[in-house]
Symmetry: C2
Amino acid sequence: MAKTPGKSTTQQAEATMHADKAVVIGLNAAIVTVSDDQPKILVVPHEETDGASGWDALPFGPFNPVRHRTLEIGLRSWVQEQTQLELGYVEQLYTFGDRGRHSLETDAPGEHVVSVGYLALTRGYDETLKGAAWCDWYRYFPWEDWREGKPPIIDQAIVPLLREWAGRQSEAPPEELARGKRRDRMRLCFGVDDVAWDDEKALERYELLYSAGLLLEAARDGRPNARGLTGKHAPNLGRPMQFDHRRILATAMSRLRAKIKYRPVAFELMPPSFTLYELQKTVEALLGLHVHKQNFRRLVENAGLVERTGRMSTRTGGRPAEQFRFRREVLNERPAPGLKLAPSRSRANS
Amino acid sequence: MAKTPGKSTTQQAEATMHADKAVVIGLNAAIVTVSDDQPKILVVPHEETDGASGWDALPFGPFNPVRHRTLEIGLRSWVQEQTQLELGYVEQLYTFGDRGRHSLETDAPGEHVVSVGYLALTRGYDETLKGAAWCDWYRYFPWEDWREGKPPIIDQAIVPLLREWAGRQSEAPPEELARGKRRDRMRLCFGVDDVAWDDEKALERYELLYSAGLLLEAARDGRPNARGLTGKHAPNLGRPMQFDHRRILATAMSRLRAKIKYRPVAFELMPPSFTLYELQKTVEALLGLHVHKQNFRRLVENAGLVERTGRMSTRTGGRPAEQFRFRREVLNERPAPGLKLAPSRSRANS
DNA sequence: CTTATATATACTCATTATGAGTATATATAA
DNA sequence: TTATATATACTCATAATGAGTATATATAAG
């Protein structure tokens, strides 16, 4: 037996931490599926005490270090228990220290929660879900779906509000500089001027809107910039969520949109057999963009991501499409098989 | 004032978690610098109780939720206290639940540690560091540095040992299939056959070697496959580290190698003014690869990442090189400015 | 002072990847 | 039959990439 590193060292390190710093670990999951060409996430509706419409929450479970060996095992465990969903792909997103995530007011003294956010993909859609429901993720981010063209909310509400915010007096000393930076952030995030829309910037856009005080969460958390929310000018920029759950969801979106381009995760959302156009529709739903159909086929086929099944799809419309299946072997052949996509520059070819 | 989500809901959620599930949060940092064309990380040498050579540890600090609002603030705080280093770029890597990270034996009953790994970059090299020291990161991963060609350890030790492991009886039922998968993993990770070396797979390589029981950490943790380590055949595949610190370091390497290609993080490691070749050397040190000099220049200049200072470098050797500086404005101009590099296929052009 | 040598920098070129379009095939509905 | 809708194959221009040659400007050797 090889020598062990010595118990004493372990205990020494752990002894430096006292019980008063102990926290509770919470596991939050953004569980994503796609159905009817819409990405959906599993949410738990929370009613307000005053009867008002509640703020949705992501499914949440505590991590019990006694029962579960790893965080991911703990996550899978309670998701399974609570929803009977079987998760396919699971990926850790980010860990938040509690006061950074809860609003200052709702922070219970003495108890501290650190939450680990997860992205999970599942195929199962129409399961019976006690207490939870699938909700189209673009209801939380209406500015993220460009499949029908630029969402009107951007030019009608977001950009004007951000312009106003960018022009405001800033707290920091270098006045003119701060305004310029705000304007740049706006430009890069929302594709103002000649800047191209970047589907992967979902998290940055959420954070920008939060910083600018344009989200209900910002007002709830008592952000200094959240002036416009107090009066009748309060814009309704997407459905809010509890705590920082909408931020976790934005993180999940950004990660998934990026990942889909270099790892074959989209297939986790597909049935065993599918047409290439069905695959494309799923990808487009996630990206919130249209892609060039012919090039999509070329890409998928050249990359060896799929293989023909020989069966044809008896679908409505025109010529029947062939059914394909995912070629699992690519994982063992190529280094980074994914769907490197580019959005169509024109919308001529849908 | 907009309505708040309601305290009751918060407390309800937190009430589901009991004190027996409380854990302590540890923050581990892989603090990276580059000097003399070598990437170095800050380690804390730990002596064995029996006087044997110790296992290095990453700097470690507890997270105190009372004192620090966020995890990153907590990290910066104790790093500052302990090392006087000022960190530039900081990025969260991954969070490990304790039994997944500590070996089963060293697990103290009743106390549970969840550790959050961070990557941090710093320019400061020759500071006075009490108790800590800079160590070349390739000492922990000798197979990762391809700048002088393929490291001999791969063909001499790693590939033969992995081949033996891949051919072994597997525990799982589908016998032949499991062996094939092991062989595929080996091929993809270490570029056997015609597969190209992928610098970003550092973590996958570490995990493969660990699974195959070829690392001292695997033997320490009592991994079932760690046969070769017990006798005189024990290979010496890089310096081991405490707990899962070498895995955290591998994670940091993979992330940094990937990030450098689409975000201008390399400049965090450069002095304010530098020649393009110095920049290239730093990048090559991190990637463990040579890149094509002329194309590197073209890339960096076309991307608008640098601007001329006018000053020339009085270096030894040939024609003096011009000094450049990082163009911070690029962050506000382009969506994803980085150094999309490709390793030289031939080593003709250094 | 000239030449060898080392490095820096500019420029060229072939190949591939990418974005976008046209052409053709095969189904259903009028 | 014809119109229409979709699937699929093929073409083409442009950009990105990998790799090399050519030239500029320094130091060191002779």
